[in-house]
Symmetry: C2
Subunit: 549 residues, 2 copies
């Protein structure tokens, strides 16, 4: 099958897809565009390119070579943006350290990634000192202290970022290399085991930028990005490359505002003073932004905000719409680049009412171009697009993680059957809109159907007298699994198991859930409280153990 390839003439340039190519238009058209750090520091794209050269020269002086891992521990800053380009453009690997992990986890990831150089903000120097004795590959440290004196410490510090930059040459010849070269790495944390490293190649990052930009730019109006937007990330730049959005902002030539450490009052202040029109964040941050704006009497209207990380609640979406914000969901995960679907309202669609609009904006949305987005049963067959039948989201696209670093077994499980398994259980409507209903480990597989534990929980929770509940699957010889409910009643309430079942049967009648979703009378347990994990989620693992007993 190798015949019929186009053979380039020897002098032809074959143009590998490299991060440096994202700068082509930024410089040829948008050289005067601005980048600002908290409104305090401000420079042009042209100066940005010079600083990328300077940073590369600094790192080159520290023996950073093709394949060297350089770690960054910083808040969202222009320096972080410089490292997004300079480090991979050298052929080195940018490791964005999750500074919210414990010191021991950070130690693990710095050793596992073989980081030789760390750019560290002064705020994180004490943490680095704490684990210093156990760091196996670290050779050099650059402290980010905004040009101030570096605080006293025991690290192998080569100098302060700005002090090193002013001495460095802006001339640096960024080489060409294979587009499959590792550009960046990040560690995901599950509930069990060590963090797992995912890696993004130059090609992954470029294709993600193009695919996401095309999806964001193409709507006629609403939930769209355009060349006159002003961009500010509010998803940490260490987290999956801030969803790849800074690369898109630079590629399209957008004014870019880096807000430093997230302080809600400062974020809404920057939004106003810098004219920010496009951001992205998790629901918790959106809640804080609304509160901060209310407290200061600030207007948020016209602010376009992509929401991801966890599901946006209808109430929060409603509140944001009331504030005039254009909020919509983006779906993805560390392994997926991340963005694989967006809850943009369909072309020509005018919502029937606010409730329907909220429901669409909170959905998982529709695939972006170049994503083969399937919802499959346990045999990898597509489930019907009827908005009811559940399956796992499995994916192919040009920008998915091809393997976990150094974890062959987990990598093969991730890619079982040639599709990336998200472990998210979802339904898809005829309109193409996907809605996630559960995580695969929490879904109940019974009688040949998949039942969403979360949906049954929400229906039980709406029964009068129920304070809280949790639903898990328990093994069953005949049905595979059967649902079991743990229910906390409100004081003085006493609806009994039949009361719960009666309420659920009404939803079976109306076709909302299948009859397999209704727990048997002896599988409804009234308990004093629902056990939680350290981060406040229902501890379903423990409940499954209890259910078996």
């Amino acid at each position: 099958m190798q015949e019929n390839l186009i053979t380039p003439t020897p002098s032809a340039y074959t143009f590998p897809l490299l991060i440096k190519q994202l700068l082509l238009n930024a410089l040829s058209i948008h050289g005067d565009q601005q980048i600002t750090y908290r409104g305090e520091r401000r420079y042009s794209f042209r100066q940005f390119r010079e600083r990328i050269g300077q940073l590369a020269s600094v790192l080159d002086g520290l023996d950073v070579r093709h394949g060297t891992t350089v770690a960054v521990m910083d808040w969202d800053s222009h320096r972080y943006l410089e490292s997004y380009f300079a480090i991979p453009m050298m052929g080195a690997t940018l490791f964005t350290v999750n500074v919210r992990l414990s010191a021991q986890q950070i130690l693990y990831t710095l050793n596992d990634s073989k980081a030789e150089v760390v750019l560290v903000h002064a705020d994180f120097v004490p943490m680095l000192e704490e684990i210093q004795a156990d760091l196996k590959s670290l050779r050099h440290v650059i402290v980010i202290a905004d040009g101030e004196a570096v605080p006293a410490n025991t690290l192998p510090v080569d100098g302060e970022y700005e002090a090193l930059m002013v001495q460095a040459s802006a001339e640096f010849d960024f080489p060409d290399f294979d587009e499959r070269t590792k550009a960046a790495t990040f560690y995901t944390t599950g509930t069990t085991g060590d963090p797992k490293g995912v890696a993004y190649s130059h090609r992954d990052i470029v294709m993600h930028a193009m695919s996401t930009a095309m999806s964001l730019c193409s709507p006629r109006e609403g939930q769209r990005l355009h060349r006159e937007d002003v961009y500010m990330p509010i998803t940490p730049m260490f987290h999956v490359l801030a969803w790849g959005m800074p690369y898109i902002a630079i590629m399209l030539g957008l004014k870019t505002v880096l807000p430093g450490r997230y302080v809600p009052e400062r974020l809404v202040g920057l939004r106003e003073s810098e004219g920010v029109t496009f951001s992205h964040c998790v629901p918790t941050i959106l809640q804080m932004l609304l509160q901060a704006a209310d407290a200061q009497g600030m207007d948020l209207s016209g602010w376009k905000l992509m929401i991801g990380g966890s599901a946006m609640s209808p109430a929060l979406c409603e509140a944001a719409l009331e504030h005039g914000m254009d909020v919509f969901t983006a779906y993805g995960m560390s392994e997926t680049g991340p963005i694989v679907s967006l809850a943009q309202l369909p072309p020509g669609y005018r919502p029937k009412d606010r409730q329907e609009e909220v429901r669409m904006r909170c959905a998982t949305g529709r695939p972006v171009p170049f994503v083969d987005f399937r919802i499959v049963d346990g045999n990898m067959n597509d489930v019907p697009h009827d908005g009811k039948q559940q399956g796992e989201i499995v994916l192919r696209s040009p920008f998915l993680t091809k393997a976990y670093v150094g974890k062959p077994q987990a990598s093969e499980e991730l890619w079982a059957g040639g599709y990336l398994h998200t472990q998210d259980i979802a339904v898809r409507g005829q309109d193409g809109f996907v809605r996630i209903v559960d995580r695969i480990k929490d879904v109940i597989k019974t009688g040949g159907e998949w039942v969403s534990s979360i949906e049954v929980e929400s229906l039980i929770a709406s029964v009068p007298g129920v304070q809280e509940c949790a639903v898990v699957g328990v093994p069953d010889e005949k049905w595979g699994e059967r649902p079991m409910a743990f229910v906390v009643q409100k004081p003085d309430a006493s609806m009994g198991a039949e009361g719960i079942r009666h309420a659920l049967m009404a939803h079976v009648e109306s076709n909302r859930i299948s009859k397999y979703a209704v727990p048997a009378p002896d599988r409804i347990a009234f308990v004093a409280e629902i056990p939680k994990t350290s981060v406040g989620k229902i501890n379903k693992k423990l409940l499954r153990e209890r259910a078996v007993q």
Copy 2:
């Protein structure tokens, strides 16, 4: 430099960039979207996908395999669109035959491309019969006759397109293969020599679609494409894949109108009946559209039209704007994919007056993303972006032709120094806007400067009493070349050589041209007429010979 590549886990899908991936979103989101042929035939994207499968089954039955060349000779139709996908998706090569060439040139290209199968519209059957005896590789012919009986002929006809389609299975498993596989080929015609074949790989076509779509979709307003546009090509689908636009329309899920043979009245009629909002054409067609609309009293307002192929004159642009059309220039050539720059008004730009706006819309424009667009002197050094200094446009991008088919020397000349040479001479302003001033073979290299023959011609033509003129370079020992002007005076006019020089010196004073651009008195010849080529262009080759004598 091969270290530090990401190694995919064995089960990972590495996602080659193939034309079939352009259909992913089209089907998962836009399955109900319409394709119509002249408003007479109409089907959905879902049915389009079935017909792609059917066409592949038909061709498979004719032994079309990976690497087989299949030629198409048709007007703009749904069948052409089906062949844009089915043929390359099989791994075969789509050859879009330029039906405007002479029979002998078509014979040359069919043999040179080794076309084994031809899909031919009944209108072109006589032409194919004429050259039949000399066709070396042709094995099969499918006649396109809209389901009617095939006219009597002597060709090896296997059947009529629609008759074969109804018998064929829509099930066809399109395989994966290398993204550098040749997907399509087209022949360019110069003024001398045989037509040269250029080839586009699957990767070229996908990257061109993404890059052009991103540029077209990203403006806040004006000169933009969006998901609610209705698309109709008015550049023949045989010509550089209709500028790649049909692939973009399908990828973005746009309603697509195929107009058949171009009849101006029908085009403006379809525009009205189908609600067309986005098209592209050459200036001559635009002129015809304006006339047809005026004759029928039809409204053209809101029609977005990309103009390419040759320069749009200010007067034509002005007329289109008067009709409410949003016209703007696209620049490129067969060798460049084709689109490498667009004359979209810059973000936030509000024109000073209509004249300035017209000037920008008629310019060559600014590069699209992922195009390294340089203007260089004879030593490959960038000329300043001052809107004055001239140089040749040279390019790199992920979608340029890597070689002429079977022409190693011409291929190396095309890519001399690792950049594709367009042979277009241009200037670039500080705003990034490029304006082509001449073809390289017509530019006059004198005193270390490049003088545009076209610009000097336009200045001489504006001298009172001048009816027509032509300017060429003549060899000069001291200066390399010097300009020579041939001038036709109006009856009774007699400005003399000094009159011409005096007028030009005023433009030297105002810094519009350099003093090297002014011909010496003995290099201004008054003649009875300017010699022209068969297509009505000034015959500069002949004038250069006369100038030497």
